[in-house]
Assembly symmetry: C2
Homo-oligomer: 386 residues x 2
């Protein structure tokens, strides 16, 4: 491969409207599951209603991600701040036990995603030559990216690309695309993730895997830029892209799925996902390391690991499997704890944290790993610039 | 820009299961609109039922795309071959006047899209280093592309990219991405379009713009490859990528939209779209031509025009506007006539027709134009290789 060095830089995150403690979120989700079943079963006595409420609270507290792993999460949706089901935008559970169908969720996504682009670029005079919009939680065209470009009359300067429906690992194909556009002469590629995962909850889905998903995922919005090192306006610091690699693990088609369904988007998640990842990871890392002339042992000794928290325990399991030290996964754990799994926006939050951490020395290598349907293992090797 | 020459080649199309004359399709659509209203209105007399049937037949025949512009279209869905609404997979209109909600449409897309990948690669031993799946009509992960790679154990050789939800012009961002990946050292990038537009009809949508959409769009499935000219296995002939350009027309956000809605995906389309395209096209072509050191006048004199048929009259209107001769738009008209608007799969069908037409001399320039939400005008300048 003949990469020129590409730098990822100028990270800015935008906290979605509501920041809530995980304990409060778990209570809300328990109440939503109970209300969904009350709407479906129409119990006629207080006892029956209370039994339903107790049952689903117990289930959510048992299988949901606990507060020792995730302290807080963000959501753009006002619905999560109260349990007055008649005042909900999506979770009007007395009429729609699953929440509203896809159209209203798309309209909400359009509003919030549009605002995110407006805010990110409010102070910015220079149009990016390429603007990549990454999401797997809302499909509306014109997108926030396209509407920004139309509004600001950047249409002749900015090409918009949608990198949609690649799931949690999508920052990695996005930076591969960005590197290709830089290679073809574009001076700067901006990447914006708007992930509104909480929008797709369906409280009639009570399976343990669904309770994990519902209590793990959160909203996240972040932007960053890719450009050739040393070109354009000086960049204070960034992450140099050294190598990328993406693989699909054989015979894992059924391990995980993500599709547009009747009431928003629906995920399925097998309990075997962590096993599949562990089984494939060593050889994957060997090949990723080799493209940079390194070995997995060298990376495990010296690199930081930016690991997408596909499940609540995946960071710990990988760290244990590879023999990593706590400081090597500190940023990944901190982002999971503060924000949960923000789908494709998660890894960029980890990159931002590493970049802004003064204790991380220039020259430090960063192994980035994320996972998604396929099963896909996607990775990149980055280096903190001087 | 520093492109190395990239060649598009090895086009293969795969006709969706059912090929129907436009006359028969118009009758089916008229019957579906009538049945949807009969389900909603519950008329109690034969007269009332017949009045509804007459009304919607008249509307569909008045506003639908007539048989003089579109002779036939393809669909993967058996539903369109009969009007026994109880036997439908999606259009079970006696229970669901809009057809079934999104989930069943996604499941059908998953099946058909999966089969398309299996068939395209059945005889192929060499995994493509990159496989770009393009669609705006079905969002299911693992995608057909990912499942193919998993099944064939190509996971270590093939990176899958989803280029989703960019609408009718998506072949152009796809080839820009492909060129970037080639530039970064990938020997071959395959691009597969699976567009099942007919899956998203909602026969309760009776507005004239919706009748145009419902009678214009069709299913289309096609693959092709991009690689550096002169590298890899010899290619009999192809289209050399000379220049690309994409612009968003200011203040046209509301002219066209495409989003996930309650009953499949919904398009809106303003009557002003052709005016916006005409207004922006001249200057757009000037800039596209200039990147190749040419002028619009030279292109209008010498090039063929591969024009996406965004509406039934757009090819003619552009030809008239630019003063093109009938042979310059012959392939575009032929594809529209035989297959309708297959969204992003359309332009690749036109490219294939031009490539296979022995009467088109090597060295012939091909201006490619397509349109979508934004409003986006996207273009490429290609040249038929020797």
């Amino acid at each position: 491969m003949t990469h020129s060095p590409v730098l990822l830089h100028s990270f800015q995150s935008q906290p979605p409207k509501h920041h809530s403690g995980q304990g409060a979120i778990l209570e809300w989700i328990a109440a939503a599951h109970a209300q969904a079943e009350i709407t479906l079963q129409k119990p006629t006595t207080d006892e029956a209603r209370e039994a339903i409420t107790r049952k689903y609270r117990k289930l959510v507290m048992r299988f949901g991600c606990s507060t020792d792993r995730i302290r807080s999460r963000n959501s753009a949706l006002d619905d999560f701040t109260h349990t007055d089901w008649d005042r909900m935008r999506i979770f009007r559970l007395k009429e729609y036990p699953s929440g509203k169908p896809c159209g209203e969720r798309s309209r909400f996504f359009r509003e919030v995603s549009g605002l995110a682009f407006d805010q990110f670029y409010a102070e910015e005079a220079d149009p990016p030559p390429v603007l990549i919009h990454v999401t797997c939680t809302g499909y509306v065209s014109p997108s926030g990216a396209q509407r920004l470009v139309a509004k600001r009359d950047w249409g002749q300067s900015t090409e918009v690309i949608h990198a949609y429906h690649m799931g949690c690992y999508a920052s990695l194909p996005a930076i591969r695309m960005a590197a290709g556009f830089v290679e073809r002469g574009k001076a700067r590629v901006d990447i914006v993730h708007t992930e509104l995962c909480t929008l797709h909850m369906d409280p009639t889905q009570h399976l343990p895997e669904q309770l994990v998903v519902q209590t793990l995922f959160a909203d996240g919005v972040i932007r960053y830029s890719a450009s050739r090192m040393g070109e354009g306006p000086p960049v204070a610091n960034g992450l140099e892209l050294i190598a990328t690699r993406e693989e699909i693990v054989p015979n894992t088609e059924d391990a995980m799925s993500w599709m547009v369904s009747d009431f928003g988007m629906l995920m399925t998640l097998s309990r075997k996902v962590p096993d599949h990842i562990r089984a494939g990871l060593g050889a994957f890392l060997d090949r990723l390391a080799a493209t940079a002339g390194l070995t997995t042992a060298q990376l495990c000794e010296a690199a930081l690991f930016a690991i997408h928290p596909g499940g609540p325990r995946i960071i710990d399991e990988i760290a244990e499997h590879l023999g990593l030290r706590p400081e090597q996964i500190q940023a990944s754990n901190a982002i999971l704890g503060d924000f949960g799994n923000m789908s494709s926006a998660t890894l960029p939050h980890v990159w931002k944290a590493i970049l802004e951490d003064g204790a991380v020395q220039p020259g430090t290598l960063i192994v980035s790993l994320a996972f998604g349907p396929g099963l896909t293992i996607s990775g990149a090797l980055l280096r903190k610039s001087a």
